[in-house]
């Protein structure tokens, strides 16, 4: 399963839809995308992980990197995730305290 990446503007936010498998082989593409978005001035990012089928620590590391990047511009990075098996790895690693995680995209967009 290939990694798919699609982004669009929603008001003042940028929604990055991630699909497929994020591992050591595909994560560099996700990192490049986040670097590119921040470079273009997208500092308020919502990463929609509804269609992610696999995520391990390499992917977590890239998301943490994205968060640090937007924060250095006073931005923020929120996640949309409704899959228990993926939420679980955020919990185990303590990253639920680092990222705002929402069940739906609507909820993430309504969050101030």
């Amino acid at each position: 399963m290939e990694l798919t990446l699609n982004h669009r503007k929603e008001g003042d936010r940028t929604v990055l839809e991630v699909g497929g498998e994020v591992d050591v082989y595909t994560a560099p593409k996700l990192r490049e995308k986040l670097v590119e978005l921040v470079g273009e001035g997208h500092y308020h990012i919502v990463v929609d992980m509804t269609k992610v089928e696999f995520l391990d620590s390499t992917g977590l590391g890239v998301l943490v990197g994205g968060l640090k990047r937007v924060r250095s511009h006073d931005g923020n990075l929120a996640l949309v995730c409704n899959q228990e098996r993926i939420l679980k790895i955020f919990r185990i690693t303590g990253l639920t305290k680092v990222f705002p995680i929402h069940e739906t995209l609507d909820e993430a967009l309504q969050d101030a």
Binding site: D23, V24, L55, D56, I89, I92, T93
Partner: protein, 146 residues
């Protein structure tokens, strides 16, 4: 302990194949549902570590796996586990975030063993459901026949 062995080119392109093959053997051995997802992540972490920690990519990545003493075991030989490859290290953007991989493996597996004191080998154990729940041949054909 007659484990199956998977030898893969030591490249990040093969980590996905590693986790999917080990998961299909674990399914045959009776591991199900969520535990298969846990196993996939843990195998991915170990394989990623073994591949990226290697100094030379000549030697293959070797995973040995199968049911053993009530659990599905995955043995991963990790070259150079203690030292970090400076080349790999240089690619890291967030050195302070290290340790996520091992944290996940320890959180997802029922047991993580380092049989040799130098930590060159890692054994992940995922408890199998009680034998009565598991089709007999599935168990045997995915590992130790007796």
């Amino acid at each position: 302990m007659d484990l199956a062995e998977l030898h893969l080119p030591r490249s990040v392109a093969y980590v996905g194949l590693a986790r999917s093959i080990v998961a299909s053997a674990a399914r045959l051995a009776g591991l199900g549902g969520d535990r298969l997802e846990d196993l996939k992540i843990a195998v991915s972490e170990s394989a990623t570590h073994a591949v990226t920690a290697a100094q030379r990519d000549a030697e293959p990545l070797v995973l040995a796996f199968g049911p053993h003493e009530g659990a599905f075991e995955v043995h991963v030989l990790s070259p150079e586990p203690a030292r970090r490859d400076p080349a790999v290290e240089a690619l890291r953007e967030w050195p302070d975030e290290g340790g996520l991989g091992l944290t996940l493996v320890e959180g997802l597996a029922d047991a993580v063993l380092f049989p040799d004191s130098a930590h060159h080998q890692m054994v992940l154990r995922f408890d199998l459901p009680a034998r009565t729940d598991v089709p007999e041949q599935a168990r045997r054909s995915s590992g130790a026949p007796r």
